[in-house]
Subunit: 147 residues, 2 copies
DNA sequence: TATCAAGTGGGAAAAAGTGGGAAATATAAG
DNA sequence: CTTATATTTCCCACTTTTTCCCACTTGATA
């Protein structure tokens, strides 16, 4: 399972180290796409397989209008890139994705179960602050509900 | 069952000894996450399995299409870490969790049935004082009620 | 007092992360 | 088509962090 947050540098060559703890699960090749809320999504090839199948499945219950769905698919597929890690676990972030989330200097690499998210450090801490407030109610469940 | 409180030092390498009495039940690998009221939760892998299954929408492969779900998953998984005990029962507290609860110097390690909580010593004694007061009131109420 | 278990501290080795140069490839110009 | 220039890829080296191991201390026990 991909969990935890790591702050890594993105260098002048657009390289970012994947946390060592993620590497085995991610594999050599990964898919990177624009995400939601100003971050990027990274999927394993396997996970991407699932996701893309679901997204393009006309039987799905996404309750999108067709035009919306087409546009969303353009968004997800049109800007997805397959990237390969180098020998020491770094990936190359394509320029248009980097620009899209205003990435420079430090990036937050966050494991979210089956996917990895890439944030600019600032955006990540902002999002954290917001979510923390919202999540207090939910978090209560975490402590007491579970048996 | 995990019970009792222990005050242990967190050293400059962010290591904390798990109380000897907890070690067997916790196992070698544990999951540590932010908890409620400014403490950290430690779960066994088994317990974590339950918690995460229950709280994340794992039945839905496209849970990332829902904003609430996205943020909750970030909250759940993004700030969790799997850590392994060293040969003599210490764990490494990730920096971002240590910072979150203002941990330094001494930590209170508290068994709460099937999880362990980690507090900064000060926060723990404050919390204890509050709870104790509440408990007195509660007991009094119970005593006078039952007649 | 000797012994054992638990907790603490620290040095050395290994791993992870970062930076940069050289080789290979691609792009553009003549 | 060839040469020159820029970009990308590959590899090596440095630095920092993490991990592993050993030793000391304390307190309880026999």
């Amino acid at each position: 399972m991909l969990i935890g947050e790591y702050i890594h540098i993105i260098d002048e060559k657009n390289r970012v180290s994947m946390p060592a703890k993620f590497r085995k699960e991610l594999g050599k090749k990964i898919i990177i796409t624009p995400g939601l809320e100003n971050c990027l999504f990274i999927f394993t090839l396997k996970e991407w397989e699932k996701v893309s199948k679901k997204l393009s499945d006309s039987e799905n219950d996404l309750s999108f209008l067709k035009a919306d769905q087409r546009n969303f698919n353009r968004y997800m597929f049109g800007r997805a890139a397959e990237v390969e890690m180098d020998a020491i676990g770094r990936i190359l972030v394509p320029d248009f994705l980097k620009t899209r989330i205003g990435l420079k200097g430090s990036a937050a690499i966050v494991g979210v179960k089956d996917r990895v998210e890439v944030w600019s450090e600032e955006a990540w801490s902002e999002n954290k602050a917001i979510v923390e407030k919202q999540a207090e109610g939910l978090a209560e469940k975490l402590g007491s509900d579970v048996k």
